[in-house]
Symmetry: C2
Subunit: 306 residues, 2 copies
Amino acid sequence: MATALLHHAACTTLAASASASPSPSTSPSSSLHLRSLVLRPLSHALRCALPKRASMRSGSRVVAMAGELARAEPVSTPEVESFLDSLKWDKNGLVAAIAQNVDTGAILMQGFANRDAISATIASRRATFFSRSRSQLWTKGETSNNFIHVQDISVDCDRDSIIYLGQPDGPTCHTGAETCYYTSVPQSEPKLLASTLYALEDLIAKRKTEEIAPGAKPSWTRRLLQDPKLLCSKIREEASELCQTLEASEGRERTVSEMADVLYHSMVLLSVQDVKMEEVMATLRKRFGQSGIEEKSKRPSKPTAE
Amino acid sequence: MATALLHHAACTTLAASASASPSPSTSPSSSLHLRSLVLRPLSHALRCALPKRASMRSGSRVVAMAGELARAEPVSTPEVESFLDSLKWDKNGLVAAIAQNVDTGAILMQGFANRDAISATIASRRATFFSRSRSQLWTKGETSNNFIHVQDISVDCDRDSIIYLGQPDGPTCHTGAETCYYTSVPQSEPKLLASTLYALEDLIAKRKTEEIAPGAKPSWTRRLLQDPKLLCSKIREEASELCQTLEASEGRERTVSEMADVLYHSMVLLSVQDVKMEEVMATLRKRFGQSGIEEKSKRPSKPTAE
């Protein structure tokens, strides 16, 4: 069978884009309420979060939003206010706000947020900050249309720093780079800072185009990239060796090593087909954001091994 | 063959733990110099970065370091000073500093850094911040011993925010949590904010221990967790279907879906054996941080498919 049937796979974090409701068995808390607001679909979130008459705080402005929500305003409900009251604001009324890509873990940008920026983010689900230089709210994407769709918000132990975990529409940096964090080396390619999986992906991509001196032996990665038969034979072999670690109780160390092999070789195949790991992650997120029944019903029926 | 031979796999980012030297062919820049300092092994970094007589700036203090470096001091060399001069300090002489796990991409903590904090980090390779409440430098781990070993530093486009990308020795948060960012819900489990891959890992782990009501059908994940034969049959099948996407030119969409299947099923196998994806990532990082020759020479020799 081509695709896994992932039953009952509801996950509070991954369910962000689905119509997750807060569990009635958990005790209410300001952060729980925030999560439930954030996790609900926009229309539902607005219905629950927006006060009957949205209060405009001094200093706030109407945030221009393209698309599904033309005018996002900071919301003022008891739950949101209680959450905002629990944060430790600096003397300028700000906390640090970091936007992170939900699929890759990449840090997209870091700014600051005041009360209105956070409540506007809750209402619009679009990462919104307070510009210290312009003394006003700004939603990332309001000029570029590259919004960051926030799926979850988390607060640190000191309650003076938050993460907007979300999916960016496109490059976050005004320079066109995927993230604002790159080591700029003049006369060389800017290098995005990447965690291991995405640094490996970049490395494999580089191997596709590197020039090989006449007579020089190509790298193993290059050989795999150029030889589909060899690559597929390796993927099947490594997958089987991963299974053997369980079947023959070969131990944890061997399992780690074989999984690294499976990942590496599979990623070479993705590279051959110009597929990004980010797309794979987005697919996993969407699958696990649905219940197993929804998941199953959306797949073409065919004989399964179940 | 059990493990891949990854030839010529030197990667500037991944080479952090190896003895990478700056490429002589790239043009010098402040950030390049910083990278070369950071990327060298500690003894080399110190030899190059530390001035003949380490200057003690006003406000700096000797940072107590356990282990390989008892006393890390802020360094003052032309390269480091030039890099520090290029940053956009706020009126308190600070930039935001985010510590990120190199293997998982998790945001571990966020603090602030002044000139001395960054230069102490360069010298010690341990994430060092400036405490605004105590008005002094502090190295994460100086009391808990859970240091964050910094492998790369990146600056954002505004040059007022930096990332310390590194490997933590253990939990970063003083509460014992892996990161300082968790949604604290009273009388419920704190939930770490995780990007897709690690949220999926958490979900699979939950399936291992969830109670199943009498007569209820277990989830697909639970079935895989309890049936090694089924699990291994699925992994081999999905690996083969991933290969078919290339062999039969089935297209990008199919490739994304099949890779998601391979990842999910392989991660269930990891969970059965209590192996974390973070360990797999650390292994990949170490492999690609060595040249292919070093990599090969460290492996047990056996017949290969090459």
